[in-house]
Symmetry: C2
Subunit: 105 residues, 2 copies
């Protein structure tokens, strides 16, 4: 996804997902796209931004913590999380943060 | 920078900088690298993660809000911010957020 998310006035939440992937695809691309679609239907979803070079960074935005917990528990997402650990990711880090202020140009 | 930052136990701050750049370099690459070096010497700096495809995402981590404000006010950084608006960026958004929890694999 190549656009900057139109998020509401803070406060809201950001999940910063930083990862290092294996070189091969192994089904990642398809499921990753599906997860973006699925997240967009999840309650409290506000937007998602993503870029990958050696490091991948995906930031998803959420109304509140409850929405984040609900998305994490989504059944199809749970299956993808399992594949992520077993196959696609060498390493990742997830940071849950509360956006307090923002500005743009 | 291609590694996942080794940040301390939360709470700490994350500055999520999402941008769309012009296609040409126009001095961006050199100054962008210099800013990463310079930020690393700034008080309260904890790490930085970056990736760019169509969209660029740079997340820098800071001890507290005071450190973020100090880095923003750095003279050399101010000059780079001005160039960013005048030359390199079509659009950007900066979100200041407080990391409340994190986990990794």
């Amino acid at each position: 996804m190549s656009i900057i998310s139109e998020t509401p006035k803070p406060p809201y939440y950001a999940v910063i997902f930083t990862s290092i992937k294996i070189d091969q695809d192994k089904g990642y691309d398809k499921i990753s796209k599906r997860m973006v679609e699925l997240a967009a239907y999840s309650e409290g979803f506000l937007g998602i931004e993503s870029a990958r070079e050696d490091l991948g960074i995906t930031v998803s935005y959420w109304k509140d913590e409850k929405s984040i917990i609900k998305w994490k528990a989504n059944f199809e997402h749970q299956k993808a999380q399992k594949l992520g650990k077993e196959i696609w990711y060498k390493k990742y880090k997830i940071r849950i943060s509360k956006v307090e202020r923002d500005y743009e140009f």
